[in-house]
């Protein structure tokens, strides 16, 4: 098995120490960092994402794989320069104002990183203006909003409006998710996409940025 395949396999098993060690070895063998990321770490995360969508693995397995991915990218970071940047795009993500639930939001952030997005995590209880300001200042391609409660879901409509009022609605894609959110709701408030789980969200994000380009 090639070292990159091995990295992918170990990532899928959530072996963070071994993933970090093998990433170091791969660098020492002269494999470019971008190649280790693109052909080792990210394919491993893809497999986990697919298995998660299919119900073959669950949140715990995704979490340990994402932690292993992080351990690997930490090793690679110093060797990845901007011109080699493999970022698929940039996004900000947060749980909307009034809502403190972050497990789903964190999973989406991990899956997005696994797909090669640069992710700005705004945390929980995020007001619409912070989404707008971050998207504007950081030139985000996508804004991801999470809500678990019916009481906080309407904030997503406020976020879409805030982007319209700021005159930058056309510059970003707005994705929404969380237990009470549906396709119909996303359409009603004028969001660009709803997805039912973290892995589908990452697939959708790839689709949205490729449409935009």
């Amino acid at each position: 098995m090639s070292i990159l395949n091995e990295i992918s396999e170990l990532l899928q098993a959530g072996k963070r120490k071994q993933v970090a060690e093998l990433c170091t070895q791969a660098i020492e063998q002269g494999i470019p960092a971008a190649e280790i990321l693109n052909d080792g770490l990210m394919p491993g995360m893809d497999v986990i994402g697919e298995k998660f969508k299919e119900g073959e693995v669950f949140v715990p397995q995704v979490l340990i794989a994402a932690r292993a991915m992080k351990a690997g990218t930490e090793v690679l970071k110093p060797y990845l320069n901007d011109s080699e940047s493999t970022a698929k795009g940039k996004l900000c993500i947060g749980t909307v104002k009034g809502d403190l639930h972050d497990v789903g939001k964190n999973l989406v952030a991990m899956m997005m990183e696994g797909k090669g997005f640069e992710v700005i995590d705004l945390g929980v209880d995020v007001p619409p203006e912070v989404f707008v300001q971050t998207a504007r200042d950081e030139h985000c391609d996508i804004v991801c909003c999470s809500a678990l409660l019916t009481t906080t879901m309407p904030v997503m409509a406020d976020i879409v409006k805030a982007f319209e009022e700021a005159g930058i609605r056309q510059d970003v894609k707005i994705m929404v998710g969380g237990a009470p959110v549906t396709d119909e709701f996303a359409a009603k408030i004028g969001a660009d996409a709803y997805t039912p789980d973290a892995a589908s969200a990452a697939d959708k994000a790839i689709e949205l940025v490729s449409e935009a380009n």
């Binding site: 715990p60 979490l63 340990i64 009034g98 403190l100 209880d125 019916t150 009481t151 237990a179 039912p196």
Partner: protein
Amino acid sequence: MTKREIVLQALSHQETPVIPYFLDLTDIELKKMIDYTGDPLYFEHSDSYIAQERNESFTDLEGGKFMDMFGVIWDKGAQEGDFGIVNTYPIPEADFGDYVFPEPDEKLIREKCERLVAQHDKFTMYTIGFSLYERAWALHSVEESLMDFLVEPEFMHELLDKIVEYNNKVVDIVCEYPEIDCIFFGDDWGQQKGLIMGYPIWEEFIKPRLKIMYDHVKSYGKFVAQHSCGDCSELFPDFVELGLDIYNTFQPEVYDIQYFKDTFGDKITFFGGISTQRCLPFMTPDEVKAEMHHVMDVLSKDGGYILAPTHAMPADIPPENVIAFMEVAKNENPR
């Protein structure tokens, strides 16, 4: 018949003259109803068939922070209802360090039991919320706990064993009271679709401990109720095997309620069923009533149903819909 007798009849899976019901409101929504109706005893006047007391207790640390009896510090700032978010995890690593598990506060538990005894014309439930997985994550964080099921399984087994030990001591005190009918465990395992931890982990870590807790309650001749939000559909065969009497919340947007009634309804009583996610906040009062009658028709056949919202009603529910809920519960029951 007393309210309690009607609930007992429903639990024995016999048709009841009326469907027993329970009004459950968050504090903010209750205040809204009191303002709307001008009735300071709006909740008491709901004449619910169930009385509940919660085991959890909190010390106010000021500044919106509260410490529960396990030493978990909660921030109850920005979010309505529930507990807020954990500010400080007492066991952040997979190592107990110098953490000492609490002993149940017997005096406080007995005060709560006495309040239930005073309402013994109703079906009385003593609620141990955060009863297993949720207590584990409150002590050790959601993400660490989920990962440690896989990477530090021995630690997680020990953590859960300590929690069971605590729960069983609480049950020993509560079950001394003949007037208390039921222990109600709360532990959210469900997502909108499927289990957050997945079935294999649930089966290894949670199920054997439910058996210990349920058997312990049953040894006192009491009923066992279990709450989990979300989709626990794959657990129902296990619930039957474990001898669970009552399942709450039973969200109709998650379950095919007819299928679950037909398949498990002779063993398990459904408690909930009126959606706080799709129905109560969004429908007109007439639509709420029609939806309630549909759910009641399906679930109350041969007893086995306690009418209730799927969650304490949050503040986005219009007062008119709470009133519609109560009109059906009180006056259109049976229709």
